[in-house]
């Protein structure tokens, strides 16, 4: 009886395989590694934060997507999840947290309030965080169900997987940041 273990990975990048080696593109491997090991920064401000806690809990486990470790320090985080209403008082702080994150970084805006101000069309609420930071994925809902949150995170994973290596130094990305006034 042979002791060979057959592993059939899903979503294997295309390439040439042989006994004990695989030849593929570097950016595919890097993309795979990035997508499955994102460290999120839960920027939870209000009710969406509680639904995020429910997503993190055992029923809709977030750890199966590689997000076991929440990073509350922006310096060590990859994914900024903004969950909840951002008021104008909080805007500069959100911006500072975003700028403290190292590249590559993605931003997920969870909930109606973070995406567009939600039901709070008032003088004190920022009508969407995309007024101050670039956002990659928006999750609608008030609050979104945990399944929707997982869907949004899977979309972020798709973005991370297909990004490529040189994107963050490219002119296109720098132009995007310049729109928000970020160097």
């Amino acid at each position: 009886m042979s002791n060979k273990v057959v592993i059939r990975p899903e979503n294997k990048p295309e390439g040439y395989e042989g006994e004990g080696y695989m030849l593929t593109r570097l950016d595919k491997v890097v993309g795979l590694a990035r997508a499955n090991s994102l460290w999120p920064l839960p920027f939870a401000t209000s009710c969406c934060g509680i639904e995020f806690m429910a997503t993190m809990a055992a029923n809709y486990d977030l750890a199966r997507f590689g997000m076991e470790r929440m990073s509350f320090s922006p310096r060590q985080a990859d994914l900024l999840m903004v969950m909840g209403t951002i008021s104008k008082k909080m805007g500069p702080i959100l911006r500072q947290v975003y700028e403290q994150m190292a590249e590559p970084k993605w931003v997920l805006s969870m909930g109606a309030c973070a995406s567009s101000g939600g039901i709070f069309d008032t003088y004190s609420v920022l009508q969407g965080i995309d007024r101050i930071i670039p956002v990659d994925v928006y999750i609608p809902g008030c609050p979104p169900r945990p399944e929707q949150v997982l869907d949004g995170i899977l979309k972020i994973q798709e973005l991370a997987k297909n990004e490529g290596i040189g994107y963050r130094q490219s002119a296109e990305y720098k132009a995007r940041l310049a729109q928000y006034g970020i160097e």
Binding site: K88, K89, S116, D121, T122, Y123, S124, Q127, G128
Partner: protein, 179 residues
Amino acid sequence: MHHRTASQNSEKITYLFEEVNTALKTKFGADLLNAQIDYDFPVFEVSKSAVHDVLEFLKNDQAMVFSFLTTMCGSHFPEQGEREFMLMYQLHSLEKNQRIRIKTFMSIKDIEVPTATDLWKGANWMERETFDFYGFRFKGHPNLKRILNMDEMNYHPLRKQYPLEDGSRDDKADNYFGR
């Protein structure tokens, strides 16, 4: 068409109303401007100059013991001229399970009121919030600055003349929202 339900304790409330009314009339006389029962609350309107003394009297009185400040808030009635701004305090006597409301009105010209923080420490933030929303100046407050809005805001947003929305937003067209 709308039948008001008789409050279960309407006798108790009438008795409380009489008790407080008599006590306030005896002690403060002309400063007690109005007294009525609103639903299940005895409501006493006093003049602004006496409001702090009235609160102190009610708090320290041995018979009534209104020693718990439930809440306080302000309100704005722009058409009422001299009675434009209203301040409301709700007191609760935990020992006797009785609640009353004290109100005072003032015009925009003399919107200064003595603070209640020397009676209840909990009035600190309540007064800051009322200042933030309406602009009441509480004389003697240890730290009267805005609490909920941004410090740089230069108007008092809950006054009726100011709109709810931020006028400078450009992504929501008012005519779609019925405004």
